[in-house]
Symmetry: C2
Subunit: 412 residues, 2 copies
């Protein structure tokens, strides 16, 4: 008999505490999340769905109403002669703000707790992105105008989340954003200073993770626990969702897929190597294949008109365009297969400019996936367009604030 | 104002229940885990570390002692004149059994709750692996002999976990195990029938996930939340640990890394393509580079003597051997970089026959990683050998049973 004692046994993850206060906070979040998903619903529905006992649910609901997070509505129950008081999220007290930063524009939304979009604004940004000082000033001014508009409608801002393309560390520092030309910028810290510690939490997160959150929350993909979301802008970013949560890695900034090596003799990539996924399958590579743009610099251009022209030609069954989409789709399939070998997603969501082109890209992506599959093929991996258009990252940013709420971190 | 109502808002993951019974079961697990990691420890230590209150800890400890999971020891406190009753896991009542199935041999271990290895057996298996009927019979007979030996030492079997190389679905069906030549075998179901529903749970899991659990539990890597474990046998399997948990994907069987495409003109792979990771960087590929084995079939051979010969030559600084290790390490680095782009591990653990060769492989792996890195390089990713040798998967299998216990699923 030997004892497994050569290496000291470790604790593993720290033991989870389950104090009474923690359980109550968690259960407040559970009730909030349940009502958001099932509203309108009764206290009895909550009891049935959460397994919490009746007295606990009653006490939790009372607290949530008092805090302005839930409200009662007139009965809508179908039972004759038995009016039932139903609960819905209270949209009158709080709102959350999401801002998505793109190379060409800023998108801002404010959403109340009942899911009403209070405002959705855009403003041009291309002329400010080059200078981070001016960029921070413009984002700050937009956040202040949104907060003020939200205040004018009688709502208190619960939190601000800013979505940015690129590698963002968990503290909200932008390590590298090729699309914006930024690196090593403590955006969260600078916004907090510029907004003079506004009393609500500010977070900065990768736009792909926020876009996928929006698709899960407001789109048709809530039930899909394992998926890949591909952004299609100047670069290619991905959110890889595993068991419902985005893969973040040891440094917290998520997958880097733009420079996965796909072919040894592909075109030059901005990173200095050849044949990276972005160089062979990005939206600019597609545009170069499909349209006569040999002399144009696409790295800071607004790609929307080009993408619209490709869509028009594809709909007109232009052969050269269909070939360009097919070739691009195959490379995308080869790149996605690398993700599929590891994370085996059920679904690939095509975001950005890829979204409207999905019907033409999808068959070639499936071919590329099959060509690169391992011995156990990627089975039934669906490919579908993103559904929320250019607002998705901003909506996801606003939704991220609710996530904090529903994990039990309520406003003070 | 628009309402986000085109798509119905979904519930997201089902709300977590936090009933009194659930909280108690979870807390029993928390106390068990704490004592395993910190034994010997006092009730006061548990109160301090878990945040549970004194009366709750007292009641939980009483139940765990009554159930034979913890026991009290004589005081070992250093305080003069103040004997303190300490708690340790009770090794007298229960044991867990792990069996690792390899192409050439079976390894079985039984471990009690105090971390004592009650037995560690091996038996040859190469002649049985070809026929799944005989293979199941041999594994069953081994499990019965181990259970009987455990019983003779007065312990009750808490559970049996069987580790197998290849793709295993969450129900314990082996989808494909190239090393064993098995596919679509409901190993868990067949063992349960052959063992006549033995009254303890049987699980079947990928050997790489179990080996990494053993390294986390009994090796020096408990604190590393994001790591990759590479097996080095006839094939290459990986366990990719993200936030402390192995990546499993939508179908639950984890990453397939053996056939990641690394080069367009590499050697033929058994999968029918060329240049897969396994074909350029597997242990057989290394052996073919380093030793004169051109005519030998390595697919069912015991690779240990070859690996030992390579180790001997490397230690003797044989130039051809060092070149073979360098080339293999570069390909391994290229393959691992694909994992690193996605999961950004802090650590790569080299298992199987790779383990003793790590000092020679590691510099070339780092070079391969750097060559394939994205614009934000893989920072400080360590490469280290597995520490538990050929028993690792079986030890991990036995440890998996404790995991169930410590998540609150106690024996009836």
């Amino acid at each position: 008999m030997s004892r497994l004692g050569e290496y000291p046994a470790r604790n593993g993850p720290p033991p989870e505490r389950a104090t009474t206060a923690d359980v109550r906070a968690a259960n407040l979040g559970v009730v909030l999340r349940h009502v958001r998903g099932a509203a309108p619903c009764s206290r009895a529905d909550i009891v049935a769905s959460t397994g919490l006992n009746k007295a606990t649910v009653s006490s939790l609901v009372t607290e949530l109403i008092r805090r302005g997070l839930l409200r009662e509505t007139t009965s809508v129950g179908g039972r004759i002669g038995r009016p039932v008081t139903m609960l819905v999220p209270d949209g009158q007290v709080y709102a959350t703000v999401g801002i998505a930063v793109g190379a060409d524009q800023l998108t801002a939304v404010a959403v109340d707790l009942s899911g009403v979009v209070l405002l959705s604004w855009r403003r041009s940004f291309a002329e400010y992105a080059q200078s981070t000082g001016r960029a921070v000033a413009v984002i700050t001014a937009l956040a202040q105008r949104v907060a003020s508009a939200v205040g004018n409608r009688g709502r208190q801002v619960l939190g601000l989340t800013v979505g940015v393309p690129g590698l963002i560390d968990p503290d909200g520092t932008i390590l590298r954003s090729p699309g914006l030309g930024w690196h090593d910028i403590d955006l969260r810290g600078r916004l907090e200073t510029a907004l003079r510690k506004p009393g609500y939490p500010i977070t900065v997160e990768n736009e792909a993770n926020l876009a996928v959150l929006a698709e899960q929350r407001y789109g048709p993909y809530a039930e899909v626990a394992n998926l890949v979301y591909l952004t299609g802008g100047t670069g290619i970013d991905a959110s890889v969702v595993v068991d419902g949560r985005p893969l973040r890695g040891s440094r917290g900034y998520g997958p880097q897929i733009a420079h996965l090596p796909l072919t040894e003799d592909g075109p030059d990539c901005e990173c200095g190597r050849r044949g990276c996924l972005e160089a062979v399958a990005g939206v600019p590579a597609l545009i170069r294949r499909a349209l006569p743009v040999a002399n144009e610099d696409l790295s800071r251009a607004d790609l929307l008109p080009y993408a619209q022209e490709i869509l028009r030609r594809a709909e007109a069954k232009d052969v050269a365009t269909l070939d360009a989409l097919d070739e691009t789709g195959r490379w995308l399939g080869g790149g996605v297969s690398l993700l599929a070998h590891l994370a085996d997603p059920e679904l690939i969501i095509m975001g950005g400019h890829f979204a409207p082109l999905t019907p033409w890209l999808s068959p070639a992506i499936q071919t590329g996936l099959a060509e690169s599959a391992g011995p156990v093929p990627v089975g039934g991996c669906r490919i579908a367009p993103a559904t929320l258009g250019t607002e998705s990252a901003a909506l996801g940013a606003a939704a991220r604030v609710f996530d904090h709420l529903e994990s039990g971190r309520l406003p003070a």
